[in-house]
Point group: C2
Chain length 219, copies 2
């Protein structure tokens, strides 16, 4: 275990974005003490937390003596720069661009549509019931899986993982989406490359230890 520099992670067991940070910390051999906010109880809007992150969202990573870092991908990029061991991006700029682009399909185009505040809006302003919310989340999740599958399946740069044989940001984000879609009972066999890569990631202890069900506050 590398020196943990006293890192603190504000998270929530079910948060997909907090999961990404946990996996990255694990892969880099970093330890952070996790402070669990109960998002279901609105603890992210408590004044003390808003003082730390005015967005009222997790994750936030705090390193003593520095301002908190928010937004999962900003945290991953920070960890990559500050703790270069076990790199999570390839070395060449075109490879890095490919990895960041794959990650962005999930982190920008897919996951933000599924978060609690969006579901709450659709419920309150458009009368979406549980079934309509499920259809909504699955629509975007399946679109994300299909885009990633189409990109990975035909590209020689795909290896054991999304980019060659080294775990990158893209695998962290993809495994994250895969977990959500499996929980929604989506048949992953339509996305064979995606399913193969997620299975490979789930063999790794860094992913296993980040599993939402094992986190503080999980039922």
């Amino acid at each position: 275990m590398a020196d943990d520099a006293g890192l603190q992670l504000y998270g929530f067991w079910r948060s997909m974005a907090a999961y990404r940070v946990r996996v990255a910390l694990n892969l880099k051999g970093l330890k952070a003490s996790e402070i669990a906010l109960n998002l279901d109880a609105g603890e992210q809007f408590a004044p003390e937390y808003l003082a730390l992150n005015p967005e009222g969202a997790v994750p936030a990573l705090v390193e003593p003596g520095h301002p908190p870092i928010t937004q999962s991908m900003a945290i991953l990029e920070y960890l990559e720069e500050a703790y270069p061991q076990a790199p999570l991006l390839p070395a060449d700029p075109h490879g890095r661009a490919r990895v960041r682009s794959l990650a962005a399909v999930i982190v920008s185009d897919t996951h933000p549509l599924m978060v609690p505040r969006v579901r709450a809006y659709l419920n309150e302003h458009a009368g979406f019931d549980e079934a309509a919310l499920r259809d909504w989340s699955i629509h975007w999740g399946v679109r994300g899986l299909a885009v990633i599958e189409a990109r990975l399946a035909r590209d020689a740069a795909t290896g054991v993982y999304c980019h060659g044989d080294q775990v990158t940001f893209a695998d962290i984000c993809l495994t994250n989406l895969g977990m959500a879609m499996r929980a929604a009972k989506i048949d992953m066999s339509a996305y064979p490359t995606v399913a193969r890569i997620i299975a490979a990631c789930e063999q790794l202890e860094a992913f296993q230890r980040a599993n939402p069900r094992l986190q503080l506050g999980a039922p």
Copy 2:
């Protein structure tokens, strides 16, 4: 003008994500020939374009001899690495994290809710009419502005621009959101720091030349 390395940008005049890339190219003194896809006519789903980007979305940046790069922030990170002149990220890891986090509030938490495919779903599956779609977009846009204002206004790291006195990814994304919100007739005076920074950016030729109204295909 720096050597343009034969860059080609697939864009659309109204695309917020293509705008980001245009500004970054301009700030770095790079020239890309733009290929305009008419997203209103579905040209992003033409087989030739899907072969280039299976997601069927703009922007895509093509550098001869390399695979296309998609996703606006992956393109900006690539440009920053491959063309380090006129840096768009600060040098220190904590500053870089702050800039990336501010950008992500817009690029992950705000803009993806406003894109045509999401509006189409809400129209087709939830009966959102033009007024409901407007309310939806404004709800998320205003939330984004409020979050950014809260973060910038109280932080000594804020300067002429979002991070000190150098234009960064955060300013590019913020100006982008500000344009969309002004077009929706939102009163920006509730966000004085945001409004001041956008006004400063709009003084710069790199931002002026990227204006959607000046692009190929604009009405």
